[in-house]
């Protein structure tokens, strides 16, 4: 096992010395591409934010309309159905021409 350790150490040592040329300058147009991508990304973010705000407002409006409707019909919803006689009278009145 010690042999393997030594061989691996020598392999890593050799690999670490391999020359890797790093250019001083980025390729032509690289910075422009980066900045353009960044701009596209931020535009997409703004668009997403706009849709999110719109969605939230629509949701708030929907909830408000629902609450108003419930409030307006509260009396009707909570009123008791009435006595048996009232129901019979109402049925007779509505069925007569």
């Amino acid at each position: 096992m010690k042999e393997i350790d030594d061989r691996l150490r020598r392999l890593l040592k050799s690999a670490a010395t391999s020359p890797r040329e790093i250019p001083d300058e980025p390729p032509f147009g690289f910075a422009t591409r980066v900045l353009a991508s960044l701009h596209i990304d931020s535009s997409a973010d703004e668009e997403a934010l706009f849709i999110e705000v719109l969605f939230r407002r629509a949701l708030a409006c929907g909830v408000a309309v629902m609450l108003l409707t419930v409030a307006a019909s509260y009396h009707t919803l909570t009123a008791s159905a009435g006595t048996e006689e009232e129901i019979a009278n109402s049925a007779i009145e509505t069925s007569l021409p």
Binding site: R7, S14, A15, T17, P26, V34, D41
Partner: protein
């Protein structure tokens, strides 16, 4: 005539204000560092330039969060390493390296390791790097990262801590485990070569 020294702080301040020229200067200044890190941790199926571009986009998107308390190089290194790290995580398949996958030069390096006891010839360093790269491809992302930083980039434990954000104890544990796994993969390959 020497180029006047680059004022990084002033450049960053201008970039924050949206100065395009300063942004170009910042890319030019940081490009060698970013490329070096990307090359060291490049996932197999990702282009070098695409990954550099992703790193720079993250740098610009987060430049407002750079406090200036640490050198810009450390901050950029962390972004670059994390970007590569996330790309590597997406690569789920880790092919097992077989002797038959090696080129003549790469097999020659392993034979030289078997037959000699000294350091390898400098001319063999490129092939060595290739072999190490293929062996690292078998390991998980953390193992690959820690081996790359410690043994190939020659970073100290402290530098690895700064780049990765792991604490020293974690760096040591991961380095030990990563080395064990690398040794196991290497041993398997060497045994296959002897057959």
């Amino acid at each position: 005539m020497d180029e006047p020294s680059f004022d990084m702080e002033a450049c960053i301040a201008l970039v924050r204000q949206g100065d395009q020229l300063a942004s170009h200067d910042l890319v030019r200044q940081l490009y060698p560092l970013v490329l070096k890190l990307v090359r060291a941790h490049l996932p197999r199926r990702t282009s070098e330039e695409d990954l550099c571009q992703m790193v720079f986009i993250k740098i610009f998107a987060n430049i407002g969060q750079y406090s200036g308390n640490v050198p810009i190089g450390h901050w950029v290194s962390r972004i670059a390493v994390n970007t590569c790290f996330n790309q590597l995580k997406a690569e789920k398949i880790r092919p097992e390296l077989r002797w038959a996958d090696l080129s003549e030069d790469e097999a020659g390096v392993l034979q030289a390791l078997n037959e000699t006891s000294g350091d390898l010839h400098p001319a063999e360093s490129m092939a060595s790097r290739e072999v190490v790269g293929m062996l690292l491809a078998e390991l998980n992302v953390q193992d690959r990262l820690v081996i790359n930083l410690l043994y190939l980039d020659g970073c100290s434990m402290q530098e690895v801590r700064q780049i990765t954000g792991w604490n020293i104890a974690l760096v040591k544990v991961r380095a030990f485990r990563a080395r064990q796994r690398l040794k196991s993969a290497f041993n398997k390959l060497m045994m296959e070569g002897r057959l």
